[in-house]
Amino acid sequence: MELRLAGIGQRAGAQVHLYPLDLTLVPRAVTVLLGATQAGKTTLMRVMAGLDAPSQGSVSADGLDVTGVPVRERKVAMVYQQFINYPSMTVYDNIASPLKLRREAGIAARVGELAARLHIEPFLQRLPAELSGGQQQRVALARALAKKAPLMLLDEPLVNLDYKLREELREELTQLFATGESTVVYATTEPTEALLLGGYTAVMDCGELLQYGPTAEVFRRPKSIRVARAFSDPPMNLVAGTAAASGVTLATGIAVPVPLPTGASSTLSVGLRASALRVHGREGDILLRGKVELAEISGSDTYVHAETPVGGLVAQLTGVHEFELGSSVTLYLDPAQVYVFDADGTLLVAPLSARGR
């Protein structure tokens, strides 16, 4: 389905939930709505689904104006953060319910196929309450998929699960979405989840749509500081600097050689992704000396929080590394890896990343 939102805005009294925005979803692909809580993701999804009518603007599906058409008459499936199933129905009946409503043929086969894909076959005759959280959410997902709706909306569907389960289900979902049967919208607060899902990402912040494009591209070229902040985990390190002949000078006089476009403001922000900071130097690196405040260990990465003369910085190291609190650390940075933002937050320079292929 091609879903087109034109000038969509949503307000309740004096409060603005969504500032007017235009968004045309890439058909039969995944679009991630990325933003912190209160960014407007759920409000936007409710408008897409037809659960709420927008205060302004129009929604069209495959060229047809559907603004104000209620959800029942839209071809849409939804999955929420809470595991919503019919408690008195068996897993089988839960998955079959949308098909029964439409009096479809071959229900048993379809339910069996979905249950197999989501690994809930052994539980078809049980009640949802007899299942674990992860299994219950699989049932809700299977029911949504059973509809074969051309538009599928998922609002933080994995947020209430343990991280290992989340990993597993996300993997299965990516494979299901890859079949291209539906246009999928997936809301999340986690930048890494957006990257793992791939597809396209719409970055939202405080009711505004900030940027929409292929996920990796938005990540590599955030058009503003706000996008960069929203689309980085840990948050991008931002350091104040001033324009100089050879690039940017940081607070302590450290010079970062980086070609600036003409017309750049004199005060600038230099953005350093945590992964651009290393603890082993290479030729041409800039050195930032500091003290370790904490080494956070995620299991696959270590996030070293360090206090340095240019401010607090976070470096992301692959693998597990232990650091004493308060110990000295030198962070190394390849100047080609910096982002530079104008005084008004506009992106001026992004790293020319090795694209890998």
Partner: protein, 343 residues
Amino acid sequence: MARIELDLAHAYKPNPQRDEDYALLPLKMTFDDGGAYALLGPSGCGKTTMLNIISGLVRPSQGSVRFDGRDATTLTPQQRNIAQVFQFPVIYDTMTVAENLAFPLRNRGVGPQRIRQRVGQIAEMLEMSAQLDMRAAGLAADAKQKISLGRGLVREDVSAVLFDEPLTVIDPHLKWQLRRKLKQIHHELKLTLVYVTHDQVEALTFADQVMVMTRGRTVQIGSASDLFERPQHTFVGHFIGSPGMNFLPATVVPGAPAGATTLGVRPEYVALTAANAHGAVAGTVTQAQDIGTYWLVTSKLSDGHVLRARLSGEQAIPAVGDSIWLAVVGAHTCYYKNEELVA
């Protein structure tokens, strides 16, 4: 402060017969005085049962709990002198922050001067000095939880402080600051701390020693790097890390140690290599995910096994459908038999 020894098992129902009947399978464990420990595992692994046995809220169905060598099995949490911090704030809304922090000390009859000193010190550590005279009722959830943490840490004479998922209500971007606080406080106060969580970041960041639990069993006790580099059990390899360790039949490449049935290698240690290279396997790429700062490449081997590699974007990344060779044998490769590490 105390050294705590467990030599026990626990079943919630009478006459346990099979392993599944136990919430905690028979175990022997020592928590050293002044150590920072985490109990890590998925829901239902037995970590909360173990915490409740340490605190005295649950009495083990067999065996004993010893505090500094003395049998404490039948003692109450008060008698054991345990401080606890729970998932949600447990404070008095009508009291000020200072009164809340002072409460556990006042209860124990500590003198007013010492109370003032200690409350000031804890408030300083938690960066709550400016809020000492504010009523707790008006504070945000995370400030209230900070008070709970403070109440848990304020007494110097406790045997141990136990934490049950204490950062659940804390906003994600504030979590690292509190993790840091807890770590600093442990350094300064040298209390025996036991921290229960299902979140690997929390456990690995906080504790000197992490106990990984699954189905009532502790499968490894070790530092964060022990768990990452040398998982003693395949569950640890799987549970620690995102994605977790890859597991392949040991016969997939020649040269496995005798008796080993499974080869384990983390995605971080799988590398692209030349065809037929030593210690390498051939596969077909099924997925290449651009994670922005690195690539996650999933391949299928000819025997159907899946192998994930985390590759730096500084090299050429293969595309879906490409035939590639991946090195799986190196200094970081582990071998398992019956899920236990053998080499």
